[in-house]
Amino acid sequence: MTKLRTTDLTVHFMGLVAVNKVSFSMDEGEILGIIGPNGAGKTTFINLVSGIIMPSEGKVEYKGRDITYMAAHERARLGIARTYQLIHPLENLSLIENVMVGSIFARGNSLRAARRKASEVCAELGLQDLDRDTSRLTILEIKKMEIAKALANEPEVLFLDEVMAGLNVDETKDLIATVQLVARERALAVGVVEHVMGVIRELTHRVIVLEAGELIAQGPYEEVSRNPRVVQAYLGGAA
Amino acid sequence: MAVTRRTGILIVLCIAAAAIIIAWRPTVLIYGIQQAGLYAAIAIPMGLVLGIVHIVNLAHGEFMMVAAYATYFACKALGMDPLLAVLPAAAVTAGFGWIVFQLTIKRALKAPELNQLILTFGLGIVMSQGVNLLFTSQTRKISLDYVSASMDIGDLSFGIWSFVFVAVAVVYAYGLKFFLTRTTLGKAALAVGQNPRGAAIVGIDVNRVYGIVFALALALVGGMGALFITKAAIFPMVGAPFTMKSFCLVAVAGIGNIPGILGASVLLGLSESILRAFRETRGWADIVFFVLIIVVILGRSLKWSFPLKGRKA
């Protein structure tokens, strides 16, 4: 079942086209890689879909419903969650309280219900000692907290924006397994932005490739990585 | 961006109304322009600081007040004319500003905007209340003969001394424009204002430039402080309204647009002057710029979010 679909999604800032006529769809249970060189518009694309910025043209549909101009917090309530590259833990709140935020506002849970939900999600991700201040977490724990916060929204579509950045090999393996587990159990549609191609190969069923805001290829990673146009894009202006 | 017909008509009506009033009472125009000169001359340094150092200096008016007090006491002690004190006042205020910058503002440059706002707010209180503490809230004035010089054209008689503020404002605006576009230091300052990180990468000492720009702005404020006392009585709170008015003018002109402050000042000066011309509306003159500031800020916020916000990553 198609969870999310965009049609000719376009945005320009002051004459600069950041995302240009991107049409794609994401199905239930699918882990989709979003790749492309720096500045290709990957994060902008996620911002458009999650409602942080509004498109200039085109359409976004969630489970068949037009959400192109819907406010971000309403999309969160419908079931679209995401993480951020730069993670800002909420100051003066503990690990579990950070995770609770999504449950409280996206799901409208009471504080008590949100705490229960958050501790379930944390347990699932292997987070322990939940009353710790966030200044005492390791990088891996911070990343997991960010994912837990998104999962506490109880989403059906989840975007992970470079969650693996800054992790070592073992930590990356750990997090890949975690993401696969939670995606399978919830039948989530997951969109993953990553620079490390090894992660993309391990994690995703399918990838889309953006270059200069345009979707230039899509398909399984092995296939796409042999596509001459994609190779050219990654080699960049060197040609 | 097309102006809708209705706002167009509204603007034309306002201009027509203003023209009628001015034709009826030409002094309204003259005093309005003079007032505009005073506002602009005080606002321009704030525009410089906001445009380059990106600090809203809520102690702006207080710096001018302190300069005016310093000039007052120097003139009383030496029997000197305040006009002779303009340059020394500028130099002393610049030095004072530089010290204040190094001791306080520099440390808050990387702090959230909130802290900067409250810091300069606190500086303003220390200055106004410090003067209050030392010299009480008594008003002080120097009487000078040439200030009452007037001019007659037909039946019309008006004071001409305040045109000096208009001259100063124009000199400040175009002098700064020249400084920022034609001199090496000015160009560096402009670069720092537009992109501090980039400027640092090409080897500009950003904090030094901030310090110099702040001191330069305060030199201009100090000069105005000395001139201010030729015309007006001073007291500890005399500077406070100018902080708000200056901010208002800078916001109307748009941050970074220094000559635009001249135009915004004329708008403000004339509107106030028109309201002051009638007894029934006199009391409302002070409200003009508060309304103006809100309208401008709200109007802008609808079109784009202010670029200052995204400055800190």
Partner: protein, 311 residues
């Protein structure tokens, strides 16, 4: 153990507050009232600050409430005690209307607009001479409770409890999570489902209502209002300095700051009649530069072995 200590201190403070009217004379009661009033204002300022919005307009809503209360008594014959909640209601409604306009603004633009609005309220009231008495203000024939010192003390204490209760509610409910998320990062708050405007509006209206309520209490305790007295910059400045000194983003911080600064300024007022406010300015500067978390922050650092929370 820390929590027990806090409970004991709170119980002690409560006991002192309740027994004060029986033990102390008119002057200490007046000092206590002043401190309680500023403490309540400091707490409300902090409540909005928890969302990251700095208001410079406390005096505006306070003054509005003061005039609403005194004019309701003088012009409409409303009972004095009823006029106080009326003042709160009016300030709340005004805040609701202006909130829709200004809560889109952020950082310095929000602050400056709140300051400008406070000035507009003052100028409007000053110019509606027939209704408000203009610059000379208005005076009531007698004060509330026949001017009884202890009656007015209890009234002020009630105002303080309203502010503290609201602050406690803010701290213990969803509002705490909403405001913290907004202050921290609005973008990520939105994608967590936080309807930013709604929560800001709630915080702004609640704090403004309480400020109006306190304005009503203030004006009824003194029995007169002039634009310069009830819109005095002190009502913005002192609460701000108190909250900063004690420690922002908490209820305890403003309380601590209000007690210390309130007592200090009472002493200084007697020593230096002009310009004792300079002390406030110096405190603001020192706090911002050297201890942005206030005394509470220093205390926390000391007790928890200095775990870094400085930004």
């Amino acid at each position: 153990m820390n929590r027990n200590l806090a409970r004991i201190l709170a119980a002690l403070a409560g006991a002192v507050m309740v027994t004060l009217p029986a033990l102390a004379g008119a002057y200490p009661l007046q000092v206590a009232r002043n401190i309680m009033l500023y403490m309540a204002l400091a707490v409300t300022w902090d409540m909005l600050l928890r969302s990251g919005q700095i208001s410079f307009g406390i005096a505006g809503l306070f003054g509005l409430g003061a005039y609403a209360s005194i004019l309701a008594v003088l012009r409409a014959g409303m009972p004095a005690l009823l006029s106080i909640p009326f003042a709160a209601l009016l300030s709340g409604v005004v805040a609701l209307i202006i909130g829709f306009l200004i809560l889109r603004l952020r950082a310095m633009y929000f602050s400056i607009v709140t300051l400008a609005l406070a000035e507009i309220f003052r100028i409007v009231i000053q110019n509606l001479v027939d209704f408000t008495g203009g610059p000379e203000g208005v005076i009531m024939k007698g004060r509330i409770f026949g001017g009884s010192d202890s009656g007015i003390y209890w009234l002020t204490l009630c105002g303080l409890f309203v502010a503290l209760g609201a602050s406690y509610w803010f701290e213990k409910s969803k509002i705490h999570f909403a405001l913290t998320a907004i202050r921290n990062n609005e973008v990520s708050a939105r994608t967590s489902g936080v309807d930013i405007f709604r929560w800001l509006l709630l915080a702004f209206v609640v704090t403004s209502t309480i400020q109006g309520f306190l304005g009503g209490i203030y004006v009824q305790s003194y029995g007169f209002a002039t634009p310069d007295s009830v819109f005095s910059a002190d009502f913005t400045l002192l609460p701000l300095a108190m909250a900063l000194l004690g420690g922002i983003h908490s209820t305890v911080g403003p309380i601590l700051g209000a007690v210390l600064l309130g007592l200090a300024s009472e002493y200084l007022k007697l020593q230096i009649p002009y310009g004792h406010l300079v002390v406030y300015g110096i405190i603001i500067i020192i706090v911002i530069l050297f201890m942005p978390q206030g005394l509470l922050g220093l205390f926390r650092k000391a007790t928890r072995g200095g775990k870094g929370r400085a930004s």
